[in-house]
Symmetry: C2
Subunit: 235 residues, 2 copies
């Protein structure tokens, strides 16, 4: 945790918060703070800054907050991801938040196992929990938007073309395609497939919506690694 994120409900005054949950435990056990110490904090959806510990007890801490710093810029990106397996999904939410992706669309694909859609990790509270871990890591206070699209074709035909307008549309896909471009100077819409990749029909449909295949070499990367590698190349 490189940044302590504050919820609206934590505030007892404009510049005071009281913490009682895992953040208190973390402050005490990892940061080992004492009264008077300073911490980096951010208000979820708002500014970042510092907090001074006013009071520290077994069950709660009171902090005085001063927020004046803008959060870091997000990437100019919409990331479209075939739903990963549940264990990977949790880490992908963290990675996406850490890397500064502002909008994530989770979409179905032929090679996504149906059971993946049943995971409790897709509940809004579970998604938010992982995104916050990612923001705490990166020192960012703004949650990415996560959109869930359980049907591939209506999403790609009806909604993706509008999302894609005015952006560089790319699909990360192994094969005989141009290499992923580097250091692009405009917004990107990037789709990344499931384990085993998109099927040709899906690549066709993504192409009609404006997304062209690019590759990262012959090595097959896990989804989480592919997300990081493609974003580090593009921006």
């Amino acid at each position: 945790m490189n940044l302590l994120l504050l919820e609206e409900a934590d505030f007892i005054a404009a510049d005071r918060v009281v913490l009682r949950d895992r953040r208190l435990t973390h402050m005490q056990e990892v940061h080992r703070v004492a009264v008077g110490d300073s911490l980096r904090v951010g208000r979820i959806g708002g500014l970042m800054g510092s907090a001074r510990v006013l009071r520290l007890e077994t069950g709660e801490a009171e902090l005085q907050i001063s927020l004046e710093q803008a959060p870091p810029a997000k990437l100019p990106l919409t990331l479209v991801l075939a739903l990963p397996r549940p264990k990977m999904l949790r880490r992908v939410f963290q990675t996406v938040a850490t890397m500064g992706v502002p909008r994530l669309v989770l979409v179905n694909s032929y090679r996504v196992e149906k059971s993946f859609w049943q995971t409790p990790f897709l509940e809004p509270e579970a998604i938010r929990e992982q995104l916050i871990l990612g923001l705490e890591q990166a020192r960012d206070s703004v949650l990415p938007d996560v959109v869930i699209e359980k049907r591939f074709k209506p999403f790609v035909e009806d909604r993706l073309p509008a999302l894609c307008t005015g952006t560089l549309g790319l699909v990360g896909h192994p094969g005989q395609y141009p290499p992923c471009p580097r250091d692009v100077d405009r917004p990107v819409t990037l789709a990344i497939g499931p384990e085993g990749g998109w099927i040709p029909y899906e690549i066709d449909l993504l192409g009609k919506a404006g997304l062209q295949p690019v590759q990262l070499g012959e090595r097959i990367l896990r989804v989480e690694t592919a997300v990081t590698a493609l974003l580090a190349r593009l921006f």
Copy 2:
């Protein structure tokens, strides 16, 4: 598992192997192979190719092997990594093998907790197990070398300068440094610090050995994410 890796001990003839362990389970439960099916295989430290299932029983499978394909090229890189915490270490071994790093040096640093050096994940067999998972993911058959350097100063002063000769020497480090270069055309020696970063004394010593700090922006990345992001930028 995108590639089934074969050990010397699996061979019962020049072109025949018998499998009995997790690879057999994986073939049966994930790939659901039948007699006559083909699989991608690689010989550890050797060529890659295909295998045909000759015999399949509850406890063992016999495969006929044909190996003629060279493994993918490695990156022209030595990666020096402050020892990550044990849970992260396992994933880092996989990532390093997947990304094609040929040589990894795990080194001590002021901010590496002493207890991390006690982890069973540093046993040679445990390292090999994770590297193989990473190679299976990427479709590569050549294990990276892993070197363990428990003392920072003797390594950086006495051995790093020679490793670094003729390469571009870089340290990934957040701060007011030049951005990490892109698409470099020569071998690289790259050092990545622990959670919390290198201390100034370490940055100084790495600099004297020929490694100059570069940064990836203001977001703080987990070690595994930083490794992937820096390699995707550099190569």
